[in-house]
Subunit: 170 residues, 2 copies
């Protein structure tokens, strides 16, 4: 089934800028959302899922996958957002982009959970690293990291002894 | 059950700017995501759901609710995004904000669907109006509009003969 799902990720060269091959998951989300969520969730065993309280979704495409996965496995949903979107109190982590800096925030109002971090694409790893830092600042314990796509040619990302899992690797 | 859910929406005065009472759904999403999605989905009958092919999610909090609702009812998911995020070809609609202009985009690559438009909050209606325009430009037929919260004191929004539905009205 993974090959069928993969065939629904369309490729756009030079988007959003020259030299980038954009992998658009819109056709996949349109026609096979449920199978996609199941494929990602199935990267973790039942025993692993039983030790996860909450799914962490990263703004904004990460929200799509994290929310449906939290729903599917009846877990809590925690949000990591761009600055200024979450009301205080929040934790903030800044990180370096190819051009300039960006930052992410997570609420500090919740008690610690055992979390699974979810995003759509793992590229350089900057966003996931900042998210893992936020989770730890907020007292959450990271039990897993999963993306739909891992552009592993661009990164060697891991968090401590936790290796990211992915449905598709390029 | 709606009263229990409503009690989990926290209020932050003067956020993101002075004079705004921000209704934060983070505590609700954390602890009662599935009940929230069921409450929103239950605003439509089974007969109404049977005539809906796709759920339209609006970036970015709309993604959270739309994606889980599409998963829950096994529907397609269509995205309305901020400019420059979706690869071409796209439809674009601009709309006026309190200060300045904004625009939204939707892919024009998909064949027409019967859609349910989903967002978190209906405030002035600008975002929902732009989204409905995009859906029609893309050939989709709007069968319903739903938000978790309708700040109806701020709007009199409807789309043709379609009135928005909401779990909570203020």
């Amino acid at each position: 089934m993974l090959a069928e799902l993969e065939a629904l990720i369309s490729l756009t060269p030079d988007f959003p800028q020259k030299g980038i091959l954009f992998r658009d998951i819109s056709p996949l989300l349109k026609t096979r959302l449920n199978d996609t969520i199941e494929a990602m969730a199935a990267l973790f065993t039942s025993a692993e899922w039983s030790e996860i309280d909450a799914v962490v979704g990263i703004e904004s495409r990460g929200f799509i996958l994290a929310s449906a996965m939290a729903y599917a496995r009846n877990k809590e949903l925690l949000l990591v957002r761009k600055p200024g979107k979450l009301p205080p109190p929040v934790h903030t982590v800044s990180y370096t982009l190819e051009y300039g800096q960006d930052s992410l925030q997570m609420s500090s109002q919740f008690s610690p959970s055992r979390v699974l971090v979810v995003d759509d694409v793992l590229a350089t790893g900057g966003t996931l690293r900042a998210t893992c830092q936020l989770c730890e600042q907020a007292g959450h314990r990271i039990h897993g990291i999963v993306t739909l796509i891992d552009l592993e040619a661009l990164n060697d990302f891991h968090w401590g002894d936790i290796a990211p899992r992915a449905c598709f690797r390029y």
